[in-house]
């Protein structure tokens, strides 16, 4: 049984049409796999390599450069919450927010809550400094956060 099902493969195939080389679809393919599987296990790397006509090591090399992708030893929870720790957020309490959420979820940045619902991460500038401190829930930004507002948002997930 392949780890990438027919639908995921079809989506990767669609990406190929956008580029003159298959290799250029590496990041899109990794995103598709990572998003669905909550990590990129070695079997997925091999299957992506096959679709892109690359050596698995080439896919792994690219994947490992971007701290964004997780291997199957550290899979993501259902959602990912990134708290910005860069300058504008730090000046308005971003580091405290990260520490507070860390305590509340009982995990250090990088860890996943015991119920598997949320992976907490630190982020560098999210490009939303006018709403500092801010956080990203999956890929949607939420500005002007407090411990309470962030906790309420996480509770609703």
């Amino acid at each position: 049984m392949p780890v990438l099902n027919a639908e995921l493969r079809a989506r990767i195939q669609t990406e190929l049409a956008k580029y003159p080389t298959k290799r250029a679809a590496t990041l899109p393919a990794l995103h598709i796999a990572h998003d669905a599987l909550r990590s990129v296990p070695p079997a997925a790397i091999e299957e992506i390599a096959e679709l892109l006509e690359l050596h698995p090591a080439e896919v792994f090399d690219t994947m490992s450069f971007y701290g964004f992708f997780r291997d199957d030893k550290r899979p993501l929870g259902k959602h990912r919450v990134w708290v910005c720790r860069s300058i504008s957020c730090m000046l308005r309490g971003g580091e405290d927010l990260l520490a507070q959420l860390s305590r509340r979820l009982g995990v250090a940045p990088g860890g996943t809550s015991a119920d598997g619902k949320v992976t907490l991460e630190f982020a560098e500038c999210l490009g939303a400094c006018e709403g500092a401190p801010c956080l990203l829930l999956d890929d949607e930004c939420h500005m002007n956060q407090t411990e309470q507002s962030a906790a309420a948002m996480i509770d609703k997930l």
């Binding site: 290799r23 450069f65 971007y66 701290g67 504008s88 490009g127 006018e130 990203l136």
Partner: protein, 444 residues
């Protein structure tokens, strides 16, 4: 001075600012029509005449860059739209993409006509999920309306625009890092030359431009080079290398101000005007101690330098690296510059791609030294050591491939010259703002 009428941000508060119908009702895609009726080189000439300089950080004249493409090239030629916007303190590209995607798409189409490109890739940082969805929808609308795809507006011009999402790495904003990343590799910046205009994406001639630069192109074509030159700061004629600072600019204001925001103003507003007239003043009735003029890579202005004109020359004259992204971050007088600098150094240590030893080692040692200082274990010699490390990394001393290292060095250099007394006082006091971790203690 009369109130400046925004151009790039003119539409962002409209309820349907993102729809094609709304954009067209406001005269959208007329500039593209005008450009398509002109020869490509004539469009490039207008952009060159306007003096438009790149808004992504380096300030290179856009029209001049376009002329670096090889003549009579059989193609393909690529346009890469740099939407990786990750410089701390910067968020104007996000607003342009989320609120007025067609203004950008029109600029992309005009630029592609000018440089004879039939394919544009928009490299979008992953974190900009909303921008992705807005642009994706806008691109679909364009294909349906014959504004992208084949025979655009009934002419022989064909163009495809693809969105390509990054994966959370600052270095993908460096133009050759971006190209490597698009090709599916690690984002290791390339040694230049060859420059992308000659050998870029997939080995083909490539132009990389920032989102805001391309939005400006739309208005330069529609209103003309003279209009653009009537805004901003003309060059100092005594300085032959001064290219001037023309046009409107999106300034981002964040940090310790009452009203963090993004405003569009003629190039050349001062830091003080931005803080007082647009940012609502420093918060909590405090005073500014330091101001980042254009993203943290550019260093710091001190409280005495707030009247610096934020054009392409002003920050340089004040010892900063440049105007950068015009992302202005205000730091109040209750904040420790030791903590601020440590935050900057941590960023660059995290984001160095690791190819060049002075940058990989230098950024991480600068962070470690500041961690030690903040753990109450600093020595005065540490400040000289920081200066030495900062002075030895970057394109300016000639030791690295890309400018990340210069950007990492600059806040250190500026902080230690402009705020040295504060660092010395901090070290002498033995204070600590972080606890000394076991691995830190073991490191020396």
């Amino acid at each position: 001075m009369p109130e400046f009428e925004p151009v790039l941000l003119a539409r962002i508060d409209k309820p349907d600012s993102t729809s094609l119908a709304g954009y067209r009702a406001d005269g959208g895609y007329e500039a593209l029509k005008k450009a398509l009726a002109m020869a490509p080189d004539d469009v490039t000439a207008i952009v060159k005449d306007s003096g438009l300089r790149g808004r992504g950080g380096a300030g290179f004249p856009a029209g001049v860059k376009w002329t670096f493409l090889p003549k009579n090239h059989p193609g393909p030629i690529y346009l890469c739209v740099n939407a990786d916007e990750s410089e701390p303190g910067t968020f104007n590209n996000r607003i342009l993409m989320e609120q007025d995607p067609h203004q950008l798409l029109e600029g992309i189409a005009i630029a592609c006509h000018a440089i004879r490109s039939r394919t544009a890739y928009l490299y979008l940082r992953y974190e900009y999920g909303r921008s992705f969805r807005v642009l994706d929808k806008a691109i679909r609308e364009c294909y349906q309306a014959g504004l992208l795809g084949k025979n655009i507006l009934g002419t022989s011009f064909n163009l495809d625009v693809y969105l390509h999402r990054g994966a959370g790495a600052y270095i993908c904003g460096e133009e050759t890092g971006l190209i490597e990343s698009l090709e599916g590799k690690r984002a290791w910046p390339r040694i230049k030359p060859p420059f992308p205009a000659v050998e870029g994406l997939f080995g083909k001639p490539t132009i990389v431009n920032n989102v805001e630069t391309l939005c400006c192109v739309t208005h330069v074509v529609s209103r003309g080079a003279d209009w653009f030159k009537s805004i901003g700061v003309p060059p100092n004629l005594a300085d032959k290398r001064d290219l001037g600072s023309y046009g409107p600019k999106l300034y981002c204001i964040s940090g310790h101000v009452n009203r963090p925001c993004c405003v569009e103003l003629p190039l050349g507003v001062t830091a003080r005007q931005l803080i007082d007239e647009h940012g609502g003043g420093v918060w909590k009735w405090r005073r500014a101690k330091a101001v980042v003029p254009g993203g943290i890579s550019m260093g710091f202005l001190s409280a005495d330098e707030l009247d610096t004109s934020l054009d392409f020359n002003g920050p340089l004259k004040a010892g900063c690296l440049g105007l950068g992204t015009a992302g202005v971050v205000v730091i109040d007088d209750q904040t420790s510059m030791v903590d601020v600098l440590a935050n900057c150094c941590r960023f660059f240590a995290h984001e160095s791609c690791g190819q060049c030893t002075p940058c990989r080692e230098g950024t991480s040692w600068m962070k470690k030294i500041l961690d030690r200082v903040r753990a109450g274990l600093g020595r005065l010699e540490d400040l000289d050591l920081l200066q030495e490390v900062a002075g030895s990394m970057g394109i300016i001393p000639g030791t690295t491939i890309c400018g990340l290292a210069d950007g990492a060095a600059w806040p250190v250099k500026n902080a230690l010259t402009k705020f040295r007394a504060e660092f010395e006082e901090y070290i002498r006091s033995g204070r600590q703002s972080i606890s000394a971790s076991p691995e830190l203690m073991a490191a020396h």
